[in-house]
């Protein structure tokens, strides 16, 4: 790994790191908000279970959509840096 690659890292590493951090963050949210709900103290435990699953599903869906949007931005950014494509589109 040379100095140039350290100073100018591949944006894909940033994407994967961000996705991973968001995933870890989701685990944190589950730990803080979902796990502490005590089944024994709630009458409608099945309803709570279903709501937990729905909440997790929504979180995963948001994670996937964010991920896809992020990739589109990276693609546009990288293509804008591509001088070859720029010169072709000008011509």
């Amino acid at each position: 790994m040379n100095l140039k690659s350290i100073l100018n890292p591949e944006p894909l590493y940033m994407v994967i790191t961000t996705i991973w951090l968001v995933l870890i963050g989701l685990c944190g949210i589950i730990a803080l908000l979902v796990v502490p709900i005590n089944y024994a103290s709630i009458e409608y435990s099945i309803l709570v279970s279903v709501l937990k699953v729905i909440a997790a599903g929504v979180a995963i869906a948001i994670w996937l959509i964010t991920w896809y949007r992020f990739l589109v931005i990276i693609l546009i950014y990288k293509m804008s840096k591509n001088n070859h494509l720029e010169s072709e589109s000008i011509n």
Binding site: L12, W20, I24, Y68, L71
Partner: protein, 339 residues
Amino acid sequence: MLEEYILLVTALVLSLLLSYFFTPLIAKFMRSKGKIGKDIHKVDKPEIPESVGLAVAISILILLIIGLFFGLNQVIINRLLIMIVIMLAVTIVGIIDDFRPLSAILKPGIITIISIPIAIFQVADPYPAIPIVGEVRITIVYWAIAILVVAVTSNASNMIDVLNGSMSGSFLLIAATGFIATFIIPLNPDSAFIARYGSLVLFGSLFGFWIFNRYPAKVFAGDTGSLATGAMIGLIAIYGELEFVLIVAMLPLILNSFSIIGSIGGLKERREMRARPVTVKDGIIYPSEDMKGPITLVRLIVADGEKNEKEIVKQILKVVGYSCILALISALMIRGSLA
């Protein structure tokens, strides 16, 4: 303990030798049957035998069957039996797909149906461990998710198999990560055995194949090899309790498959796609300028400048290697949360 390690080392060596032995034989057979494809990323477009990934599937299946005779207890034997049935069925789907292409929706659909025994027999532990939280109790939802896992991982493997050694090289790293993670996360002995045995068998089988599949490839894996490889990782994740770690290790591959599905608006075959992600000219791969084209990992890598196949494969393996490091950090976090 020593007995287990001798078995693991034997499994690694045997799977490597079997795969290394079967690969040229199957390549010769496929060539004789006219099952060849052009390597379009090379200047001279050589003709390469396809579906040779069958060697990987055969090697894995033989080692899983051998594992039955050394199964340390009934739980391990039950898990190995389900793995054998699913691997065999996925391999058959791969062979059919290679010779009579299945539709893009039908393929994962069949693999999901094939995975139903996971939910029926319920011999896995439905308590996946995740960082910060520790073990999560999802006894009902787990089985619904588990039957989708094999379809997701095999599809991700199938979609990354576009360049010489990109699939086999990536899964070599992922299998190695799975094996290392078993020494970080405190797993129960049955799951630890399945994860270690499965990872080493996959690693050995892929390594014997990768020698022929790496750039410049002398064989192609075909859907047979890519689906079987992906299915095996999915099964290791479920029966080896490495769900979170292997998801993180596979992030670039999952990213690749989900972004393709997202950008083309669903599961579609190559011939159904209106725009290609990249173009090839004289062995150099250029990104497509059409924003309607699928957003693939390869397109993202060449987006800022055209590259040759070897450079792209190297970049893919670097990205997968990086996510494997993140997976091992996740394993350390899981260990911390279980303590």
